[in-house]
Symmetry: C2
DNA sequence: GCTTGACCCTATAGTTGCTAGAGGGTGCAT
DNA sequence: ATGCACCCTCTAGCAACTATAGGGTCAAGC
């Protein structure tokens, strides 16, 4: 399989595959006579794994860790669970942060579509000192 | 006010303030004889605005836009509302994406803390093809 | 046999929003 | 006069790609 086919098969850009190789997530593959990268099923599986983990929000470092763990199938599974659980906690923190932003922003929007910027609640919210001292 | 005082007053790092200047969010301030940046209340207000907007998750581009709108207080307020609403939509999309990740991840965690990696549900989830073809 | 076009190669720079470092100058107190 | 905290500019680094420049390869069509 050439890199373009692998890219289509995994919904990945060609440049990203080469980037993963440079980043040590994919081993340098065999080359054809014309110096083209040549991939087989193993690489397809490995890249699918990487993409799925990335879709779930794992960082490349975490993916590297998961790949190392997945490669050693006799290891106890607790280490994998630890990576995933810590990532889950990170995601939950992000959701909480964004929810707070959303609530603050929603509170401010929609009150002054017809007024002028000078009376705009959004702007006033962003200007705590000036907003508090005026009027 | 010297840059360090402004930094403490706005809970911003000195380097970040200089970065905002380079990025066009803060105008180049007056200088002292010794070539130190010298700030007044206007800059303090402007930087507070920027920090607050950043806290609410606005990008630097969006902050630039909001600053331009805030500077022209006779403009109708709809443009401000548009920036904020579109940002709110972005945040809500992110929350939805992260919630889906969280659900998928939570579904997979916790089932195999005692087993081996070869039987690990997390790893199997990440390896869709191999996971589906085994057993 | 030769050209066209799609594909591949390497190497480098750009993106966002900072942060950190090198290598120096300023200003005040002791 | 010397130590120290602070300031200056310039450059490089982070994540995780993406894009560009400037080439080489390969199969098909004329």
């Amino acid at each position: 399989m050439k890199i373009g086919e692998l890219a289509r098969a995994t919904d990945t850009k060609v440049e990203t595959i080469r980037y993963y190789e440079g980043a040590g997530l994919l081993a340098p593959p065999a080359r054809t006579d014309g110096n083209y990268r040549s991939y087989g099923t193993d690489e397809l599986l490995r890249l699918s794994f990487i993409r799925r983990a990335r879709d779930l929000g794992f960082s490349l470092d975490e993916v590297r860790e998961l790949l190392a763990l997945a490669d050693d199938r006799d290891q106890p599974c607790g280490a994998v669970d630890a990576v995933a659980s810590s990532h889950l906690a990170t995601i939950e923190r992000k959701i909480a942060d964004l929810s707070q932003m959303r609530d603050e922003l929603a509170r401010v929007i929609g009150g002054c579509r017809l007024g002028k910027v000078g009376d705009c609640k959004i702007i006033q919210t962003l200007e705590p000192l000036r907003g508090a001292s005026r009027r």
